[in-house]
């Protein structure tokens, strides 16, 4: 069944700010609401206005999607736990005398830069309130952090000449973070 220009314009506005699947779902609900008001005897335009008013402003809907976006939730979780895991690794590297490890300085600098980029990406995703696109950065940051965690564990296993006790905390903390991150990644809405 055809829709109304007011509804089409409302949905077009949402389509620029939300994923296509979500807009399809919103469209179904909005058109059903419109049809409900048409059946009550309202004119097509009055029914469209009433349906849109019932749905809420696009700004409010987008903000609600942003607040509950999986990328934003993952970013906030990683930002909250990051200092603890980072502290464990800091203690491990000092206790393990990282400066004696056979690592190229360029490689170490690249790791540090990648870690900084991840923190900034997670901050961008975790602090947004109005941009759904920015919440997706949380997923990118989380996946990169999984790679960095895995790289650090591998480096310790292969390169470290002596095992320092803080590693006994840092390695399980990183493994737990990898597991939690993979579990928290957004799943495709199939089915």
């Amino acid at each position: 069944m055809a829709s109304h220009p007011l509804i089409d314009s409302y949905l077009a506005g949402l389509a620029t700010r939300l994923p296509a699947d979500s807009v399809d779902e919103l469209a179904d609900g909005l058109i059903e609401t419109w049809q409900h008001h048409l059946a009550r005897g309202l004119t097509p335009t009055a029914a469209a206005r009433t349906a849109i008013a019932e749905f809420g402003t696009p700004h409010r809907i987008v903000d609600e999607f942003v607040a509950q976006a999986p990328g934003r939730r993952t970013a906030r979780l990683l930002l909250a736990t990051g200092p603890v895991v980072g502290g464990c690794w800091g203690a491990s590297l000092i206790a393990g005398k990282v400066w004696t490890w056979p690592i190229q300085p360029l490689l170490a600098a690249a790791y540090a830069l990648a870690l900084l980029a991840v923190v900034l990406t997670l901050l961008a995703a975790g602090t947004t309130r109005h941009s759904y696109r920015r919440t997706r950065l949380g997923t990118i940051g989380a996946l990169t952090l999984v790679v960095l965690d895995a790289a650090m564990i591998t480096a310790v296993a292969v390169l470290t000449p002596l095992f320092a006790w803080p590693m006994a905390v840092a390695i399980p903390a990183s493994l737990a973070r990898i597991g939690l991150t993979i579990q928290a990644l957004p799943k495709p809405r199939t089915g």
């Binding site: 399809d24 919103l26 179904d28 609900g29 059903e32 609600e64 809405r189």
Partner: protein, 131 residues
């Protein structure tokens, strides 16, 4: 005597109560959404209608805000969604999962205990004397 600004008076009564109610509803939204799916699968608009009708019109949330909450419950594994096509439109319908049903029973049980305690305190009765 200086009036307590935290106590609502006259015109501010309704606004204060509405805010308090919205806050209380937010804390129970997940349980309420799960309850609307207990009798069978529904799509977003039907969930919103069930919330409104089931509460006698008291919980009439903006329809558009129901969907992100449903997505969050789906990500948590409490409900499962599936796509179908109705009148040429894509429709996502949600059903409770076994985990969602367990969570609903737990929420319901907690609510009954909480409501019973509040009711017991609010009902008019003589309070025990204190020394």
């Amino acid at each position: 005597m200086v009036p307590d600004s935290s106590i609502p008076t006259h015109g501010s009564d309704r606004l204060w109560l509405m805010k308090a109610e919205a806050q209380a509803l937010k804390g129970h939204l997940d349980g309420l959404l799960l309850a609307t799916l207990e009798d069978g699968p529904r799509h977003g608009y039907a969930v919103k209608e069930a919330l409104r009708d089931g509460s006698g019109g008291r919980f009439d949330l903006p329809t558009g805000t129901i969907y992100p909450a449903l997505h969050r419950l789906e990500d948590s594994g409490l409900i499962a969604g599936s796509w179908s096509t109705v009148d040429g439109r894509r429709r996502r319908t949600y059903r409770l999962t076994a985990e969602g049903l367990r969570r609903l029973h737990a929420d319901r049980s907690n609510w009954h205990a909480f409501a019973a305690a509040i009711t017991a305190l609010l009902e008019r009765r003589p309070w025990p004397a204190t020394r």
